[in-house]
Amino acid sequence: MANRLFLLCTIPFWTSNVIRMISWIPLLGRNGLVNDFLLSTGLIDAPQEWLLYSGFSIVLAFVHLYTLFMIVPIFNSMMRIDKSIIEAAYDNGANGLQILWNVIIPLCKPGIVIGSIFVITVVMGDFITIGIMGGQQIPSIGKIIYVEMSYLQLPAAAANAVILLALTLLIIWIMTKMIDIRKEL
């Protein structure tokens, strides 16, 4: 069973980010699966336009592609939590929500910060997802750099890239100032 599951798990490694993004298009399009379903059930009268090539579809694709970058570090830091700490919290009369808020979340902070760094750096520099899911209509910094490079305005693209890098580093610096990963690990 585990072997079969493992084999199943290798399948997404055969496709790229872009293919998984494009596979949302037949689902969300004007005559896509979602619109057809909603029309046939009579929930809507006309196809919904905001499903594809909009901010909604961009966020959907981002969340679909990058949630894993959040799961892995948080899972990792959760597995390090000593189960006896949680038992101690129970013994002292904390309920489930209190344990979640006062014990688990503080101990997961390094994982949350690492996951946030992954997601924020990837989204800040992204231009393919915003390009494909936004129908090339929604601006992004990566897109500006890409267009400037395609017109051989390399110095302008480099200047944009330097500013983007500085901003992303600033965000990461602020996050690591708020929670010291090195100390917590």
């Binding site: 585990a2 490694f13 989204v123 330097v162 500013i163």
Partner: protein
Amino acid sequence: MMKFLKLKPSVGLLSIPYSLIFMFFFFIPLVLTLIISFWDYNEYSIIPDFIFENYSYIFKDCFNFEKDMCVTFRTYLSTFIFCFITWFFTLIIGFFVAYFLAFYVNSVTWQIDYFYFVLFHFGLRM
């Protein structure tokens, strides 16, 4: 083995391969980008120079607050908004999936299988 090699492995020595990769594929391209961002360019070539026109062009009209927000700021604003919304949703979903995996799946085998299932679902590709 150590005696045979007559080399004391140190942190510095062991970090040489990765340092070289880091230098060639990360640090040097980054420095080149920084250098080229000060060069001049025309329609068909880039010209070695030291000018700040590339930067001033990006922030042209950006600090004139009587007009609408400039293109650069609007683009950054839209990217920041996407960044924030994506961060929020990935954090919520990621936290609870990790919580389920870490605390509700008892046996280690099932934990690993569920973890692979999650990998499969979100299709990790590095």
